[in-house]
């Protein structure tokens, strides 16, 4: 479903240019559980932004479900982010003024899902799926870090995306909560979701079936393909 061919990303920093990605070739099939690791500055976050259509590559070809992303307009990209991809960020990125339920229902608003009743029902189901059925009316500030991240996961799941992209999802959590979250990821993968986990912690990356390492904008190892 994801095919990347010689993807580059160059940031123009005035006098010098920074090659964040330097020829990435990557193919990902449906149902995989992948970790992408690398030191900070290795380009792994840039890669995630490009996979998630938040950013565009400078060169190379990226086909998502057969369509060339570079050729898509702003509106199609927004729809891809809404329907095909679910994001989970390190800093949770919940809207502070909305309740857990409203945060989870928000992607459905942008997808044009019918009435608010249907949106609430689906958001409720997603929150129950991550074990937060009893915290729906709480604001993010009234939830613990682990609970906020679960809300963020529910928000990523609510649109039933084909790919879930998680950028350092355990980075702001203690190790016990992190472990619980990894269990949840494993469960989601067993249910058929494609998971791409970006992290710099190797013991978290271990949980993934396929493990990719990035250094200086290049893939230096790719273990467990097809496992």
């Amino acid at each position: 479903m994801i095919e990347m061919d010689k993807i580059t990303k160059i940031y123009d920093m005035g006098e010098e240019e920074v090659r964040a990605l330097n020829g990435i070739n990557l193919s990902i099939q449906e149902g995989e559980f992948i970790s992408i690791t690398g030191a900070s500055g290795s380009g792994k976050s840039t890669l995630m932004n490009i996979i998630g259509c938040l950013d565009k590559p400078t060169g190379g070809s990226y086909r998502l479900d057969g369509s060339e992303v570079a050729e898509l307009g702003d509106r199609e990209l927004a729809d891809i982010r809404g329907r095909k991809i679910g994001f989970i960020f390190q800093g949770f990125n919940l809207l502070p003024t909305l309740t857990a339920l409203e945060n989870v229902a928000l992607p459905l608003v942008y997808q044009g899902v019918g009435g608010s009743g249907e949106r609430k029902q689906r958001a409720k189901e997603a929150l129950e799926q991550v074990g937060l059925g009893d915290r729906m009316r709480h604001l993010p500030s009234q939830l613990s870090g682990g609970q906020q991240q679960r809300v963020a996961i529910a928000r990523a799941l609510v649109t039933k995306p084909s790919i879930i992209l998680a950028d350092e999802p355990t980075g702001n959590l203690d190790s016990k909560t992190g472990a619980e979250l990894l269990e949840l990821f494993t469960k989601l993968n067993k249910q058929g979701h494609t998971l791409i986990l970006i992290t710099h912690e190797l013991n978290i990356a271990r949980h993934a079936k396929r493990r990719i390492r990035i250094m200086d904008g290049r893939i230096v190892s790719d273990k467990g393909v097809g496992a």
């Binding site: 938040l54 608003v109 942008y110």
Partner: protein
């Protein structure tokens, strides 16, 4: 989807109450002043129009600016007998002191004949009007307006009492029907006496102003041109004025129209300032909420969704502010009307216009910040701390 985005805009305004209130204040002040000033302007125009209307549709007023004594009674009689006139009457006016006991009032005196009652539509509510015999015999009788009566005697039940006009005693024989206030002052502070006696009191032997009534509305133009040719012959070109009622209406309409437009225009500037205030606040808001915009885009918001949300916020501010301003404007115009003594006409049309205008302000001044928000790159917006 629209209602959901609208609801989000409303929530976002509620979460920033102080800021929303201040942004709204500019619009409230602007719409209040536009609504109130236009209501006052239109009310004043209505006063003037109805005053002119009350003079009758057949009325023609003409006057000589110089050499009024060259116009002789013969000329007037000739017009009357050959033209389409019901009547042509001279009018003598002046300011006099009217006294009763220790009270003294400055008032306007008019010398009249019985014909004035019909030509100028002057009615008495009690007693009688000036009669022919009063004019012929130069009797010291008078008809007073209600305001003058009240100021001199404390009430309007004054038929049969005496009033001193410039030191001469006059018998009050009638009370004029009240005409109310106008921008040009009270029409009820006046005293009418026989034409023949007015010449003595004001010291002017001849009149320089005449009221003519045409035999029908259709004859007004014809009558005007006959009067003009007589005046041209007697006092020369450019030395006279002739107004028919329709011309007076048109003139008054022009003047009050300009006045209303000026008042509205000045008030509209404050609305513009309010709009700029909204733009300023929305621009700050967009920068502050960069991360929120990034999050929304990451979970699938299109440009149009972001644009719509920010536009909805600015339009909501102006519409709510506009509604509050309309209510305040209606109150203020009623208040100002009663203090200034003019009628104010708060019209639904004006209110609708003000509301539409404030919505347009919200759209115009909200568009730039909203477009700025919608064009943000998601990855850069997400990086914003």
């Amino acid at each position: 989807m629209f209602s959901a985005i609208f609801k989000m805009a409303l929530t976002s305004l509620k979460n920033r109450k102080m800021r929303t209130f201040l942004a709204m204040l500019g619009v409230v002040i602007g719409v209040t002043s536009v609504t109130a000033l236009i209501a006052i302007g239109q009310g004043a125009a209505g006063d003037i129009t109805s005053r002119i209307n009350s003079m009758g549709t057949n009325l023609i007023v003409f006057s000589a600016m110089q050499d009024a004594d060259k116009i002789r009674q013969d000329d007037i009689d000739a017009l009357k007998s050959s033209g389409p006139f019901l009547d042509i009457i001279p009018i003598i006016q002046g300011q006099v002191n009217a006294e009763s006991g220790s009270r003294s009032v400055r008032t306007s005196l008019e010398g009249v004949t019985p014909e004035h009652a019909e030509v100028r539509q002057l009615n008495v509510t009690s007693g009688r009007f000036i009669r022919s015999i009063d004019v012929e015999q130069r009797l010291r009788v008078c008809v007073v307006g209600t305001e003058l009566a009240t100021e001199l005697f404390g009430n309007t039940d004054v038929v049969g009492r005496q009033v001193q006009i410039e030191g001469l005693p006059f018998l009050i024989v009638g009370i004029l029907e009240g005409k109310g206030q106008s921008l040009m002052g009270s029409q009820d502070n006046r005293v009418l006496i026989p034409m023949t006696y007015a010449q003595t009191i004001t010291g002017s032997k001849t009149s320089s102003t005449w009221y003519a009534s045409a035999s029908s509305e259709a004859e007004v133009n014809n009558a005007v041109s006959m009067i003009e040719s007589m005046l041209k012959k007697r006092v020369g070109e450019d030395n006279y004025n002739v107004y028919s009622q329709s011309e007076m209406l048109k003139m008054a309409g022009d003047v009050t129209g300009i006045m209303t437009a000026m008042l509205g225009g000045i008030a509209a500037i404050s609305l513009l300032v309010g709009g700029i205030g909204i733009m300023n606040i929305m621009l700050v808001s967009v920068v502050e909420r960069t991360r929120e915009i990034g999050i929304r885009k990451a979970i699938g918001a299109r440009r149009a969704h972001i644009l719509l949300q920010f536009l909805a916020e600015s339009v909501l501010i102006t519409v709510i502010g506009g509604l509050v301003g309309m209510a305040l404007g209606a109150l203020l115009s009623a208040l100002m009307g009663s203090i200034l003594g003019v009628s104010s006409s708060f019209s639904v049309g004006t209110a609708g216009l003000a509301l539409g205008f404030s919505m347009a302000i919200g759209l115009i001044f909200g568009l730039y910040p909203a477009a700025k928000a919608s064009r943000m790159m998601p990855v850069e917006a997400l990086r914003y701390e």
